[in-house]
Symmetry: C2
Amino acid sequence: MPESLKDIGEFGLIRRIDELLKREGVQAPGVTLGIGDDTASFKARSGYEILVTCDAVVEGRHFLSRHISPMELGRRCMMLNISDIGAMGGHPLYALISLGLKNETLVTDIEDMYRGFLAELHPFGASIIGGNLTKSGDGIFIDITLIGEVEEGRAVRRSGARPGDVILVTGYPGHSAAGLQLLVQSLVSEDHPLVRAYNKPSHRAREGRAVALTGCARAMIDTSDGFLGDLGHICEESKVGALLVQEKFPVSEELKEAAKMLKREPEEFFLRDSDDYQLIIACGKKDVDPIRAAIALTYSGPVTEVALVTAPEEGIRLLLPDGSKVSLSAKGWDHFR
Amino acid sequence: MPESLKDIGEFGLIRRIDELLKREGVQAPGVTLGIGDDTASFKARSGYEILVTCDAVVEGRHFLSRHISPMELGRRCMMLNISDIGAMGGHPLYALISLGLKNETLVTDIEDMYRGFLAELHPFGASIIGGNLTKSGDGIFIDITLIGEVEEGRAVRRSGARPGDVILVTGYPGHSAAGLQLLVQSLVSEDHPLVRAYNKPSHRAREGRAVALTGCARAMIDTSDGFLGDLGHICEESKVGALLVQEKFPVSEELKEAAKMLKREPEEFFLRDSDDYQLIIACGKKDVDPIRAAIALTYSGPVTEVALVTAPEEGIRLLLPDGSKVSLSAKGWDHFR
């Protein structure tokens, strides 16, 4: 019988995780105390600000355990948080993992989930320094707090966009959600590129940091709520409007084909759907080139000018191919609706 | 009809929480960016280490919503985390609140829960700087990450106890658990002092900080897993044993009476039961007085010498009133057993 949590108990599991982290993890710089005390501790570098974010993933809500392996689940949860640190221009350093588990959860599954966390943290030299284990109700939850650093005054917020700025977006937002629909409706196999975009999402954290270091970006956000929802966050925090140009949307041939199969418009996937972790960046027109160059250091996908920042009273509008303009409601993904 | 989450949605709730925090919260020093971006950020003070801890509370597991008001629940969850920062000798500064909620959760209940968080944070000038909202399964969960600071090198760990040290404990561990049993079995009214100890638990974070500042404590921990479980953590991390003296246990008259009603030994409540947030401190014999004086600055309850630190091979033993010694197994509260 494979070992479950009720076989080894909470302290048995803590020991197993501790051993795994000692064997397979790294120690991030600045840690003065890791797992195994009332708190963890670290020393911040002088000249840096500390960034902190948290994101929880709930079984049955954000994932179905029959559709994702524990390792992939771990990667995805950590990736979400790394994406947020990157969208500020920061470098991830320390993670705290809070798990709500069931008695029958297998110990090897938990270990594989931690391997997923580590696989995402390793490229940054980041480490797991603490956490919490508890029993959950009918589904497990994984709540990660990720701490990073950014040079003082260099963080790129949502609030700096100004009328006249250009809006850039990286990659192909919409791919991941279309891939999930193809998968759920069993229309393609698991190695379809859009399904891969869903199953193995990647962040643009390195590119976000490179953009921040240029000093050229006025606002930046990752697309976790869908392009339109996240552009809406920038508009709200910056108190501006935006004019989107439909003809410029980065809609790939694969997305067009998928949209046809799914009887939806590809532009709708781009605008409304979540689960891609790309970047939206606002900058002055003259700063587009240095920002493209910074992103190109580590990312070969497209960086597309899709919109212009406008006055706040104009709201968010879409310029259609026939020259007409329609108003859009910037509703992002809402967990309770 | 009172408003629920499905009436106002995730972003409606974020707005309501934001407004409540602006109205009723304070801004902790060092915050450079609060709620409303991809991450929060702060600037650490030079000469300080950052402490970080997280603790999750799950409905049906740690609390039953019919037995605790949302405000009390909020206080309790924040208190657990403040207790951990205090047990290192730190000062709490910034909290991130991650909530798993149900569609039918009432908005006013969430607001009251936040008032509970703030009631515990205010005395420290600490603030809520971020968080996450999601839908949970069959019960809500509240996961708090609390960040604090401590003067560099001043944190008191679990690992510094040495043979010959004295073990001190504050207050009356066991009161809270006995109160819960009295309540569950409907043996007393809600204003019974032990029931109050359960319903309105308090931390010794101020006292922990005062102890750390004396520089006299060799090890410290809070009693969240029960006295014996947490003394076990000190012994394990410090690689020492301990000899407990039963006659010295701080067993109050109230606990003796309650134990009689519950047909259990009062010493068992003291040793095994959790839900009190007192401090266990190891120090040299000559340092007992300055530590007592530091605690007395803000706490009028007892500080009791209950044990001596011994060599590791002796394990944890209990000296009984008849002079005999028995070995104890230092099992703390285990979520999966």
